[in-house]
Amino acid sequence: MIDRLHSSTSISRRTALALPLGLAGLSAAPRQAAAEPEPVRGGTMVMIVNPEPSTLAHYAVSAGNIPMIATQVYEGLLTYDWDQKPQPNLAKSWEVSPDGKTITFKLQTGVTFHNGAPFTSADVQYSFMEVLKKVHPTAPVVLAELIAVDTPDAETAVFRLANPAPYMMKAMAARDLPIVCKSVFEGTDPLSNPTANKPIGTGPFKFVSWERGQSLRLDRNEKYWKPGLPYLNRIVARFIPDAGTRSAAMETGEAHFAGYSAVNYADVARMKQNPILDTTTKGYEMTPALSVLELNSHHPHLDKKEVRQAIAYAIDRTFIRDNVMFGYGEPATGPLSRKFVGLYTDQVRRYDVPNRLEIANKLLDDSGLPRGADGSRFELHLEVNSFGEQWLRQAEYLKQALAQIGITVILRSEDTATWLRRAYTDYDYDISEPFLSQGIDPVVGLNRQYLSSQIRKGVTFVNNSFYANPKIDRLLGEGRTEIDPAKRTEIYHKVQQILTEDSPLIWLVDVQYVSIFNRKLHNHTTGPLGTYQAFETAWLEK
């Protein structure tokens, strides 16, 4: 059964890059070319979404593949410009009170949902208090301070907060907090709402049909409230499990857009040679993410700071960036992505010094962990990330890199469910290599990873290294409510310095995704949220 033998190869390829949990980009102010031709109306844009979402319940599940479709249908109160400053969307204006505890949104008028119901402040109130706050997975962080939404009239929604929440204003786009229709949800359990897979929103495209395993169709919303938009008649999302075939669909022109590295990094160089295609790394500015190593400090050697530092010194992050990520991304210097402009700093303990191997070996020698006769000091198991074959490549490199300082690494590959259980419930691991989204603000990414209160058995992607530092707990608590930007910067600089010194995790690459598009498609990437915002101004050349 030769087919059978090879099925495992193919399967690992099909889950490649399965989860675009987050991304990072660098340039801050990209622009479309100045001589942009006049938009053409009509046409069907085909985009590749990978993997196929399991559900479209965007208000209750925050998997990275859902918003590429859901943000065409659902809208948020705000959107963001290239400088990540809030811009009007369903809210035409807003005002934050000086104490940061009251936010007043003035809403657009004449907006209707796809089912014909008018959009009013009651929908905003219901979406936030009855749906998002109750069932959205990130609500316990992002909406923790929200007490109530008052609706003095149909066009005004007043958010009342217990404490200032500076990060909340960065989460008002459809990607994070979509507005749903009250009349559709009222009196139902939001987790089993019948519109979970037939979304009804106010967006430029209406949900039409979903052929599971193949494609999903969205048609132009004729009654869209922004005059003249959208330009496209239809968007079709195609689901192709195999990475090679996804590339082929772009090369033949069958598909026009593939975001979030739906096309393997390895194929991107070839795509660039194709005259009908082009690539961009823009549109990922608001989705920072790091690839990291989690270290289980319950392991007898990993509880020593010096051992963790030695591991950090042993790894050549530029090598990983160049060979595992095919040149995309930046070597990470600490726990925060460079995307957090202003809050990020590289003034920390640097592990990319020229004599790093020497330092690493000395640290281990001094820790009383001499090399044995075979040159090995001790053994560690590395849990290979199951979300794609690039992580196996990374694991293979790490095995080589740590061998240089006398640590023998044994790779363990298991499927996603088994891996997650081992790393976050059974804690039966030494090193795990996840890829962590950093969210809209350090509050999301840092707090769950380094607060001692986030050591929570059975919860995925939280503090499983058992890191507990009262100083960090205090600083992260302060960063949460500090509204003065300068003070906030100071707090997070300190956090980064302490964490890089303690090295509870090893930070590898500040991840950069890439979009491939057909040159006939224009205006596809119009803001820092990229494919996580509507293609309302996108258009196709005839």
Binding site: D3, G213, V236, T252
Partner: protein, 323 residues
């Protein structure tokens, strides 16, 4: 009448088989580590214990295994395959959506493999050790040794990208809104490459089996008798030898009908074909137990039915076999 009684008897026998499969699958699947809630939360990137408890309660994962099993058996007794919480959709609906494309692909590949494979086997055997035999043997060896996914990708490169004759993937051209014959032709164009990739391995296998079987039969006494009666070679091959030689291929085809369901995962993946194989793989990855059990149930039924059909074909081919 006798046929009806036989069919009834066989279907009755199928009941304990399928029941056994249901019970075995249920406990095997529950023995796998990890659950749907943790996978779902893992994909979300972040989740609170409250959110995960909420999910587990909704999925019924907080119940003892014995209770889950009792509920499952009760549902199955009503032929209710349950609800896939991950997909927010009834299991039966998900499977039925995929069953059509799977059957289309499987049957096409199956028919092509059996017919063409047998034909090539006959051609090779009748020209034994000649150029025809050598060419067919060599080609079938190559086809037999070529991995399906590689063949699929290479076909995409040649026929979709370079020559632009065929579409790369999918069941039909999405958003084209074809109707009538246009739609049939559209689907057929999409079917060519996956069906070829899936059938080639079996085609090669049947060609080799058929050749060996033909050669074996040629030495039998009844062939000598037929030849002594002065029958033409053509009539001997197609009237006598072929019929007997086919029995081996039919036996093999019956066994491999089950494999086709499993083997199609790779081909479905490469060609983005919306079939049962990828659905099952995703369900396993995400520990979507209801869906997985539903697929196993439907596949088991399919295999039972195919085997029944094969046994009936047997009777038609060889009158010595009685039902």
């Amino acid at each position: 009448m006798r046929l009806a009684r036989y069919l009834g008897y066989r279907l009755l026998l199928a009941v304990p088989v399928i029941l056994g499969i249901i019970v075995l699958n249920f406990f095997l699947i529950h023995a796998a580590p990890g659950d749907a809630a943790s996978v779902l939360a893992g994909e979300s990137g972040a989740a609170t214990p409250e959110y995960m408890a909420l999910l587990r309660h909704k999925f019924g994962l907080d119940q003892p295994l014995s209770t889950q099993f009792a509920v499952y058996l009760l549902n199955m007794a009503h032929l209710d395959l349950g609800y896939s919480f991950r997909n927010d959709s009834p299991v039966l609906e998900l499977i039925l959506d995929r069953l059509g494309p799977t059957l289309l692909l499987m049957l096409t590949a199956f028919v092509v493999a059996v017919l063409l494979g047998s034909l090539l086997g006959v051609l090779a055997a009748s020209g034994r050790n000649g150029w025809r035999d050598n060419l067919i043997s060599l080609a079938s060896l190559v086809a037999y040794a070529t991995p399906g996914f590689w063949l699929g990708l290479m076909m995409i490169v040649v026929f979709a990208i370079n020559l632009a004759w065929l579409p790369t993937s999918g069941l039909d051209t999405v958003g084209a809104d074809n109707e009538g014959w246009d739609e049939v032709i559209d689907i057929a164009r999409h079917l060519v490459m996956p069906a070829t990739a899936l059938s080639l391995f079996y085609l090669a296998l049947y060609a080799r089996v058929m050749r060996a079987s033909m050669l074996e039969q040629t030495g039998m006494d009844y062939v000598t008798t037929a030849r002594a009666k002065g029958q033409t070679e053509r009539r001997i091959i197609f009237g006598h030898v072929l019929r007997n030689a086919l029995l081996t291929v039919v036996t093999m085809a019956g066994v491999q009908a089950g494999n086709l369901i499993g083997g199609s995962i790779v081909v479905e993946t490469v060609f983005g074909w919306p079939g049962i194989g990828t659905l099952a793989f995703n369900a396993l990855q995400s520990r979507d137990l209801n869906l997985l059990l539903g697929i196993f149930f439907v596949s088991a039924c399919l295999v039972v039915v195919v085997n029944l059909i094969v046994d009936l074909v047997y009777v038609t081919l060889d009158p010595r076999i009685e039902i």
